[in-house]
Symmetry: C2
Subunit: 743 residues, 2 copies
Amino acid sequence: ITEDKLPVQAKHQTDEQTRILAEKVFAHDAKDEDSRDEISPFDVPVDCPIGEIEMVQHQLHKETKETVENRKKRMQRGPIAVTLPNIEEVKDSEPIESATKVQHVQYHNVPDFQRVAITGDYTSGVTVEDFELACKGLHKALTIREKYMHLSFQRFPRTTAHYLRTIENKRWVLEAEMHPTFTPPVKDGEDPFSSQDLPENLSYSCEMKDGVVFVRAKKDSAKKIKDLPFPDLPTFIDDMNFLIALIAQGPVKTYTHRRLKFLRSKFNLHEMLNEIEELREQKINPHRDFYNVRKVDTHIHAAACMSQKHLLRFIKSSARKDTDRLVFNSKGQKLTLKELFEKLNLHPYNLTVDSLDVHAGRQTFQRFDKFNAKYNPVGASELRDLYLKTENCINGEYFARIIKEVASDLQEGLYQHAEPRLSIYGRSPEEWPKLANWFIEQRVFSPNMKWMIQIPRIYDIFRGQNFIPHFGKMLESIFVPIVKATLQPRDHVELSVFLKHITGFDSVDDESKHSGHMFCTKSPTPEQWTQPKNPSYSYYLYYMYANIMVINNLRRERGMNTFLFRPHCGEAGAVTHLLTAFMTADNISHGLNLKKSPVLQYLYFLTQIPIAMSPLSNNSLFLEYAKNPLLEYMQKGLMVSLSTDDPMQFHYTKEPLMEEYAIAAQVFKLSTCDMCEIARNSVLQSGFSEQEKIKFLGPNYRKEGPEGNSIQKTNVSQIRMAYRYETLCYELNLIMEGLKVSE
Amino acid sequence: ITEDKLPVQAKHQTDEQTRILAEKVFAHDAKDEDSRDEISPFDVPVDCPIGEIEMVQHQLHKETKETVENRKKRMQRGPIAVTLPNIEEVKDSEPIESATKVQHVQYHNVPDFQRVAITGDYTSGVTVEDFELACKGLHKALTIREKYMHLSFQRFPRTTAHYLRTIENKRWVLEAEMHPTFTPPVKDGEDPFSSQDLPENLSYSCEMKDGVVFVRAKKDSAKKIKDLPFPDLPTFIDDMNFLIALIAQGPVKTYTHRRLKFLRSKFNLHEMLNEIEELREQKINPHRDFYNVRKVDTHIHAAACMSQKHLLRFIKSSARKDTDRLVFNSKGQKLTLKELFEKLNLHPYNLTVDSLDVHAGRQTFQRFDKFNAKYNPVGASELRDLYLKTENCINGEYFARIIKEVASDLQEGLYQHAEPRLSIYGRSPEEWPKLANWFIEQRVFSPNMKWMIQIPRIYDIFRGQNFIPHFGKMLESIFVPIVKATLQPRDHVELSVFLKHITGFDSVDDESKHSGHMFCTKSPTPEQWTQPKNPSYSYYLYYMYANIMVINNLRRERGMNTFLFRPHCGEAGAVTHLLTAFMTADNISHGLNLKKSPVLQYLYFLTQIPIAMSPLSNNSLFLEYAKNPLLEYMQKGLMVSLSTDDPMQFHYTKEPLMEEYAIAAQVFKLSTCDMCEIARNSVLQSGFSEQEKIKFLGPNYRKEGPEGNSIQKTNVSQIRMAYRYETLCYELNLIMEGLKVSE
């Protein structure tokens, strides 16, 4: 087992100046967090004073530097020639071999449409120096993300990778592409909980080393596994500092801000010109419309996945049927369901959604603390324990039944899917076998659901109550059981079966809490982290990523499914959260704060990082509906999906995901094509398996651009696909041009 | 049969100056109509330049006039003492006999809450003269509405009537209150289409006289009916001119503008202070929450009452099951369903909501013309005829079945109701018996639906095609058959039975079309109206009102149900539309343009005219969602309800009415109390019968204020009811004070 051996990039030398700037930026950004102001409208000059100072200095410098010669050089250059990459696989798609303009591209399966071409000075508004500087920085940022995704079997877009290889004068090869492995769908007649095919046990042991699981062969081990990469913290910190400095750099901010503005205007123009043509494609597309395209609810918490009305109905019906059932057994007190209601002074018949009081209202806006209390029906933790928990006197039966009812609604609707999150807290390693046991005993399974594990960032609470001695222990409780089940699956049958159904990890909590600490090489290791203060968001994310990375490499080696890292990110708090996720996460939930950093927003665009947005949730907590950036992101071409977050708390109708789409469509006047594109994004973002994605999206879904789209399945017009693809290529091409200049 | 004999008000002498001003105002207002700008934010100074000039003159006059003495008089007056009226019926409610301040009021069934009291100069911002002038004008406006409602068995709020009687030094008596008569609900086992209880025929004849039905006893008539009132056109015109002048009067505009601003701020303050208390009332209210309070979809067109997905599913299933059914028979061409689809070059399996193309999109915004084309599925009028019409080769069977499916969804949901509109065009008197036959043959009945008749304002089209010689003929085709069925029910059995299920009339079309003509005494009579140009909105409304008024008096006399007049009004076009509706309509749909006239808005508040709002429809046609005045109206205390208008064209989910409420709740952050209040308003506004309203709202629903509310049924907090009631009383009291001053 060795350190990072991947050939992606040579180790980066710490630039002391970069580090100092990064720390300044971070300090400023963290300071901002406490003010829970509404997100200010997107505005470059005011979002970071330090960046601004930096920018002024740069301007001064530039003005003295830009010579007549430079100006001439800038003016001489003609309109940029955009090539669409000739990606190996797509030989039949008439790729353009030589540098021709994008507007002459012809695909064999895309109707003609009107393209927006820009002629004239392509760097308009920025000098050649600034352009080069920005492109260099962005390029490096792209290679950083590619490296960390590659290391952890997470995804990176093929188109972007292709441009990176071209810049390196290398060939893009399909074999180098990394993909997560998901468990294939359960076949008819197959038992989803079967433990038949578990691999044999290995003679390896596992321990924590600086907060990361470390696998070691035992002396008697016969079968060897390949050396696994191990994360390299100093390089990670260097990369992070580089990115922090980058997002505050004046010229890069100006450049990306302009590109994003351009992207939005270009989309609006595209839509004006081609709206009718896109619609025509959809109209003649037989049998498929928005109602029967596949959609995945990419972000939903299991404990709130039912509507308030559904929960109410379930409570009432259980209270009628299970009157004398023993449902409470704590501290010597045993209560039947009837007695429990009597103790709470409630009569089930009288219960209403008002008395249940689980819906977010005006009181919760900008008050995450009040919101969390809404998880307790009638304000009684006893009811939460009984109906919304996996561990209780009835072994979580009610909770399982409610989830299965939600699943059966999805199955009936045929085209809707969900990825609910179950919690692992990291207080004790026993949580895993208990959760796995609940999952299997209660047979919580649906072909329309994929499962994720959410880890609340609540070290400080556990430490405060002395449940754990240091942060390392929490990481150990979370990750060591997985490694053990991976190494010795036959000793951990239930957990091993459960893990087959898990597709990823989420990191959750109020992002506006706990910051100020900057993650750096001098930060205490998790074992040294004994203080009561919570580690920062970035610290949490790094250690989750590092462990998932090691685990994925091990599981791939063993032929098992791997996990994606899909944290909540950018719902509130510092923009550096989005930076850490850029380095570590396959995709994120929320992403509202991308509004605050044009550089990061542009990078999320270039790397097509999926963002599961929940505007109804935001509307109740952080941001008024009409101000939600969903529309803006979609227009710019960021890869957004729609999700419900907590139907129990936010939604009114029996179809929460449809409600989410309907309201977005109404408020933002989305076209059918927009909605189908968002639905397609949701499937791509999800943890559904290769086989399922082929079924939902078509056989070529891994190809990017119109070649990868089956309009028969997705109802996304090919014109839209071509527009998106060409637009991404155009932007990547600009970066390539910028790098050529500096050679 | 005599002219208006009602003692409400002496005939008004035409004031020539008023008439001239009214004409000026009208001309300006009509001119504005063609510009389809978005409704400008509520703003007094710019909404009418003529009013503005008038106002400047008034200001000049005032400044010279206001003497020191007057100022003293104004300052000496203390805070106004508001009394709640001692309405006969409510003897047990501890009404306040003497003038005490509102904040000391105690009801026996309202929890304590914090009241907003205003001390100091109550006319702040306006001089005593202006105050008096405004109150005088508003008082007269109230009496005008009361008169026309009274004449036609339409509704007028008891509280307002009580204040009017007090001003007249009269006693309010319950017996003088007029109510519409609705057919009681069908009892279990009873046939809703039974013709058993039709009254005997009378020997009366009916003819049109100046566009209004006129009933005359035949020579041989044995049984006499009481003389019926007949509308008095000159008085109506005088009243209308008075109101037109009033809404342009500077001081009245200023005063009402201030009052409305005050009402809104007061509500916000009330909500801040009492939100938690209101919620507490709802939480302890057993078994009732927003989901199981009754809601009526107060404005929905039968031809678009199903969702697009529902229509699609129905078309597909009929195409599967009825392949060889003869469904088309026109001009010698006979087609089976299969052949019809072949002719249209469609395969039912391939049909999608996109190809159906009935949903309003961005293309329809501000384009009512494009919107109307959306009524044709796949753009084919053949499909519209087959699936959405009552007259066709299959006797409207499909249309009836779709409606019954919608009804059965409502019945399953238990708490939702709807008032669909069926069309009578007035092209021929045969439309009535045909529609009645369809209704009865297809047994279109549901306890959750009440039926209305909509009359499109399309005289110009019929006249253009020479179907009718003059406007009077159209009125004749619409109203004479009703009178005949009322006089000789046993000769018109089906129509008589059908009319029992009709609760009101609607007037529909794009309000931004056809104006410019001012309705005045010199206007041609309907018989003289032979020109191809369409009459104005006001002309249409007057003649609909006049006929309904006569018919209601006749039907009441015969012991039959009466009709409400509930036109579309204020969706677009001139504000005078809202003025005409103020005089003639029990309640209206839309009312967006009340934003443009503070005087009318305040009058709609004082008379609590119900307004069925459809923000999702507006969002697709006239006004962006977030700019919809729904929230503002609700805050000010206007009586608003929520309705869907056309689910086929606007909604996405299976529960269009819930979608309408959910989006309003989300975008405007409505509280549960707000939503339940809107639901309660919808029942009050509806044509459901006395018996049903008692069941839905409680036995005292006709009482106003908290005494009339059953929180057990409506889930509206008593605090809210008290707030609304006291607020209305306060405003009416101000008017009473203003009149005292001038005595």
